[in-house]
């Protein structure tokens, strides 16, 4: 994550009469500059990552030993639910939108985003959405306690009164994502510099373009299902209430129709980031650029036909189970194959291992590990033993923490010198990497074992045979949690005082963003760059 200092020094840029950033708070409130908005998204995402992380530590602290020590089961459920919601909608997605805001205009030679005012608005409604969500923790009856997947009827008839705040929070987050997606599509399609044809778009831009289409197709479905919940709770309809002719399984189908494309929304931008970083440090062009672009597009389309592999045990006719098993296994091919592209890029390259490359390599290894456990989960009969156990928790944490989070860390270490003009401290970066690497594996690898041994998900207390691996996971969680402070200290310390960054920053770097001075002037590409 990037922490850009509040009063960035007045930047000399070519036409100096041009007004620089306004002074004081007004600058951040009224900014329509894609760099400021990108920084705000990234700082917001870092704060949410910390809040979500603290909730994770509460969960792991309770699960350190059998028996209820710290929190009472009702509050424990609120922590698991809020941890999920904040990490998914507050840490990962805004971080990717922040990176897109910063890098897409720089990489396609555009002066700014297509709709700057909407860009400002889609950021500024996010803090209020999460204020609404987090404030429900302090309301009588407590915050949302029905899991981040908020299955009905637990989230409708049996929910605490604060569920309406949860619903409005989700509405606003959805609106912010849709506006962000529209902005990115308009920028990429309409504002490329002359000569920057669609064929030459960097892969980060391609993955974000496809992710934006996914967002526009899927966030309204989330808004729809949450509106149906609102109508069930307050206006006496019964979409999900069996008494009035509704069906709780209908909720699960609609939620996961949104849910599976959503997990692709959280990983495709990571594919883009890794495809930018590995070629730079391997000093070799990305292997099979065309295959990557076509595969990412097909993954986006195919992600709409596999949703029910989250529901193998809900009771489906045999035809349904076999169909979704086959479909899920088939789309694992174009997704998994992308790992080979990265390895082929490294093969016979000339590699150096600065911090961004370390995070990228850890992404390739550990994300693939998560992909393997995902493939095991796709086998429907075996899923009857895995479903809703800690094996599933281990799976999605392996694809999300060493997956999405490590790719965001790699992007921060990789592009921060361009944003701030100062290079982060390399030893602190490596310390942060190795602590995070050990922490992530020590936390989530034992979860495979307790999951296979039979420990269900979302329980505040467990039987004695799961005790040892759980205590190991809790120790790992605290290591991983506190190692993020090393990152924050590194950023805060070196944003201004760090060693000056050259324009190219990394020796193997290609791309339009590196032709701009570091730190990137407040207004770049006012006159479109010439692209050979």
């Amino acid at each position: 994550m990037a922490t850009v200092d509040i009063d960035l020094p007045h930047v000399k840029d070519d036409d100096s009469h041009h007004h620089g950033p306004a002074k004081g708070l007004g600058r951040w409130l009224y900014t329509t500059n894609h760099k400021d908005i990108g920084s705000m998204y990234l700082i917001f995402s870092l704060c949410m990552f910390m809040i979500g992380g603290m909730m994770a530590l509460v969960i792991r602290a309770e699960l350190f030993q059998p028996g209820l020590q710290l929190v009472e089961p009702g509050f424990f459920n609120q922590m698991t639910t809020m941890h999920g919601l904040i990490m998914v909608f507050g840490a990962v997605m805004p971080a990717f939108v922040g990176l897109a805001n910063w890098m897409v205009p720089l990489q396609i030679g555009a002066p700014d985003m297509a709709l700057p005012r909407m860009n400002n608005w889609s950021f500024w409604i996010l803090p209020f959405a999460f204020l609404i969500l987090l404030s429900s923790l302090f309301m009588p009856g407590g915050g949302p306690n029905f899991g981040w997947t908020f299955y009905a009827p637990l989230s409708t008839t049996y929910a605490p009164d604060s569920v309406t705040f949860f619903i409005f929070g989700v509405h606003i987050m959805g609106a912010s994502s849709i506006m962000g997606a529209i902005n990115i599509i308009a920028t990429i399609l309409n504002m490329r510099a002359p000569g920057m044809t669609m064929m030459k778009l960097p892969l980060f831009v391609w993955t974000w373009l496809i992710t934006a289409f996914l967002l526009i197709a899927v966030m309204p479905v989330l808004a729809g299902v949450v509106t149906m919940m609102l109508m069930d709770i307050h206006f006496g309809t019964s979409f999900f209430n069996a008494a009035g002719g509704g069906d709780p399984v209908l909720f699960q189908h609609i939620f996961w129709f949104f849910g599976h494309p959503e997990v692709y929304i959280m990983i495709l931008p990571a594919f883009g980031i890794i495809s930018e970083i590995i070629p730079t440090f391997a000093r070799k062009r990305l292997f099979g650029y065309s295959s990557m672009v076509y595969a990412v597009a097909s993954i986006a389309l195919l992600s709409f036909v596999v949703w029910a592999h989250h529901m193998f045990t809900v009771g489906m006719p045999l035809v349904g189970e076999v169909f979704f098993m086959f479909a899920t296994m088939l789309i694992a091919v174009p997704t998994g194959v992308k790992v080979f592209n990265w390895i082929a890029t490294m093969f016979r390259g000339s590699m150096t291992f600065e911090t961004p490359m370390l995070f990228a390599l850890a992404f390739v290894v550990l994300f693939t590990l998560g992909g393997f456990s995902g493939l095991m989960l796709a086998i429907a009969p075996a899923d009857f033993q895995y479903h809703d156990t800690y094996f599933v928790v281990a799976h999605f944490h392996y694809v999300l923490v060493p997956g999405a989070i490590f790719s965001i860390m790699a992007a921060a270490y990789y592009w921060l010198p361009k944003w701030t003009g100062h290079v982060l401290n390399e030893t602190m970066g490596k310390t942060h990497f190795w602590l995070s690497f050990v922490g992530v594996n020590l936390t989530f690898f034992p979860m495979h074992f307790v999951g296979l041994a039979g420990m269900p998900r979302r329980i505040p207390d467990y039987a004695l045979q799961f005790a040892d691996f759980n205590s190991m996971a809790s120790v790992g969680a605290f290591i991983f949690g506190f190692s993020q402070l090393v990152f924050i200290y590194n950023v805060v310390q070196n944003v201004r005082a760090g060693q000056k960054a050259t324009d190219r920053v990394w020796e193997g770097a290609h791309g339009l963003e590196w032709t701009v001075p570091s730190p990137a002037p407040y207004h770049t590409f006012s006159t479109p760059p010439k692209i050979d």
């Binding site: 089961p73 009588p140 009827p153 045990t313 998994g336 093969f347 393997f372 075996a382 479903h387 690898f445």
Partner: protein, 364 residues
């Protein structure tokens, strides 16, 4: 590689001692062994692919480093290689899909069952109704609250023990009709490889044919509220003769408890018995000390109902209160237990109303 990973990898094949169990249970039914074999087959395929892929990667990381003078080459596309590394995983997937489909088809076997049991999920307990016989009982967590709150030492079956386990015959096809009373639960016994969601308003079907008598434990696996982690499943598989004797005992006990309801009990006995019933059925929400939880569950101590007219107190225990978490306990507790717990609530937990109620009065 941290100690945990080295240890885990070495133990991964053999299911190790209980507290270091790293792998899925093989289970006691033909289906659970089939699923275990499927799990291990796909696990080993993933390990082989992983070793191959990461081998190439680490070789490249080690060999093609700038510090060792490697100079980057300029090829960046080779369609034939890409086609190969797409078709090979495709073929591997087919080899996985065939046995998986076969197992899945076996699981959807709709042949005639010998025993039909309706499993109903309640908020935070299971109810078992034998459709062929007239047996119907609730199965509550029996781990004492003191063990959960770390006052007492935890016994070996901590959180996996119930007061009345489900009893089924061995080598017989037992069919479960799984449904729910309030929210979605999920009925899972790892040793049977049976897991089915219990959905309110609808019935799901599952079956098992157990090959070895014994006691098998499982847990609710779908988030269902506050006590989701505290509603275990215990199934006792008995030999044919023992099962028949158990069914006869159940029927006999039903008569005895019917008779017991007509006797009169001393108030002191009612209070003593009532405290046990209170801790099992009511302490989950109203807490052991009767203070309840402000904003969520009302207190019993000095409550208007518990100190008011006894008939209203009995009515709310019998029929519950619509729209709140207070359930109807009429079907869940016997007449004797109901009389005992009402009497206890009126004369214990800081209340001393002084009146009591007999089981026979409860039945009107």
């Amino acid at each position: 590689m941290t100690k945990a990973m080295v240890l885990a990898l070495s133990l991964f094949v053999l299911p190790a001692k209980a507290d270091w169990q790293v792998n899925m249970t093989q289970g006691v039914t033909e289906l659970s062994r089939e699923i275990f074999d499927l799990h291990m087959l796909i696990f080993w395929i993933c390990v082989v692919i992983g070793v191959a892929v990461f081998g190439v990667m680490f070789y490249s990381i080690f060999k093609h480093r700038k510090s060792k003078g490697a100079v980057a080459e300029h090829w960046h596309e080779n369609t034939t290689v890409e086609v190969i590394w797409t078709v090979v995983p495709f073929v591997i997937l087919i080899s996985m899909a065939v046995p998986a489909t076969a197992t899945l088809i076996n699981m959807y076997d709709t042949s005639e069952a010998d025993v039909d049991i309706q499993v109903t999920g309640y908020q935070w307990k299971w109810r078992y109704q034998y459709l062929n016989e007239d047996i119907d009982f609730f199965s509550n967590l029996s781990t004492p609250r003191d063990e959960i709150n770390n006052v007492q030492v935890k016994n070996s079956n901590y959180l996996l023990e119930v007061d009345k386990p489900l009893v089924i015959p061995v080598n017989k096809k037992v069919r479960f009709l799984i449904t729910s009373n309030d929210v979605i639960h999920s009925w899972w016994v790892p040793n049977f490889a049976v897991k089915k969601d219990a959905i309110p308003g609808f019935v799901n079907e599952s079956w098992v044919r157990v090959e070895e008598p014994g006691i098998y434990r499982g847990q609710c696996t779908e988030l269902c509220g506050k006590e989701h982690g505290f509603m275990p499943i215990v199934v006792e598989v008995k030999a044919e003769a023992d099962y028949a004797r158990w069914v006869a005992d159940q029927k006999a006990m039903k008569l005895i408890s019917a008779g017991a309801a007509s006797q009169n009990y001393a108030v002191a006995d009612l209070i003593a018995k009532g405290e046990g019933v209170y801790n099992a059925a009511c302490a989950g929400c109203h807490q052991v000390n009767g203070q309840g939880m402000p904003g969520a569950f009302p207190a019993i101590t000095a409550s208007a109902i518990a100190t008011g007219p006894i008939q209203k107190h009995l009515d709310i225990v019998l029929n519950g209160k619509a729209g709140t978490a207070m359930q109807a306990f009429k079907q869940q507790l016997s007449a004797v237990d109901l009389a005992a717990v009402v009497t206890f609530q009126r004369n214990g937990l800081g209340n001393s109303v002084g009146d009591s109620i007999q089981p026979s009065a409860v039945q009107q």
